[in-house]
């Protein structure tokens, strides 16, 4: 398989995967039970994304400057600081720890 063939094949598979989610009929997704599943799924996905972005490096767990971003973001959110400020504080914390 040439590199171009592989690239186009992988791109087609990626779009097909994305479209598959939208192909689920909306009426299946609106029962009270599916409402609870969707709510729990949201918390699950956001929690997993947070942990992945904090400690994952490929298939290894790495504790590095990203942990400082998490440690600064949590109290900032607790204090109800604006979202953008929380994101900037997270970047500053990681950059500072890396500079040390």
């Amino acid at each position: 398989m040439s590199l171009w063939t592989a690239i186009l094949l992988a791109c087609a598979a990626a779009l097909a995967t994305k479209l598959a989610g939208y192909a689920v009929p909306a009426r299946w997704l609106h029962s009270p039970r599916m409402h609870r599943v969707a709510g729990a799924l949201t918390v699950a996905l956001l929690a997993s994304l947070t942990v992945m972005n904090t400690v994952a490096h490929g298939s290894t767990l790495v504790l590095d400057a990203r942990l400082a971003a998490l440690a600064v973001a949590a109290p900032a959110l607790w204090l109800r600081l604006p979202f953008l400020l929380v994101v900037v504080l997270g970047a500053l914390a990681a950059a500072l720890v890396r500079m040390l």
Partner: protein, 246 residues
Amino acid sequence: MSAPRDRSAPVAQEQRGTWRLTPAVRMGLSIAVATGLYGISFGALAVAAGLTVAQAMALSLLMFTGGSQFAFIGVIAGGGAASAAVGAATLLGVRNAVYGMQMQRLLVPRGWRRGVMAQLTIDESAATALAQESPEEQRRGFWTAGVGVFVLWNAFTLAGALLGDALGDPRRFGLDGAAVAAFLGLLWPRLQAREPIALALACGLTTALAIPLLPPGLPILLAAGVGAAWGWLRPAPSAAGEGQTP
């Protein structure tokens, strides 16, 4: 810095289609900057792996899902077969189907919008939409983050592919820390009661335990499975008996 909010449905109706700096738009823009700049790393690594600039751009424009793109060039750089690169990238993209199902439920897109939304369905756009309460804000969050990441990710892929490593590692500026803070910020408003906190901890722990054990892309699907089972098995809060159906 007080956030403007939609106060009533009629007001939200009037403002349909207008773009103000609502909380969802601000969230979408900040997450787009934090993520989009990573395109530099992708562009530089893709060219280092042996791809041409056009091939790197094809991946960012057409595949447009960061994890899968890094996996694809990672396999190629490691001397792996092209078919293995396709497999790794596709596996990593499966979570986008879960996001698509959630977006279909929230935003119910029709016609051509559905195809465009599907292409823009990635971690950042789905997470920004899911973090909002009102349908209008969910819609604004999705499109701001989706279009924002798409534009910046592709612009910086091109920059990285043309300039190589000359621009330096974006991690030096703490951009990976910005992404961590952004995802925690999207999760935070959901953690108002004991149950979602317990669920978030369970899914976070599941992810951390699964990262060294499973190929990249699967830990989040495992956490999604835990979340879906949690919601499915939980008895209905008001209607007694519904949770007992087999």
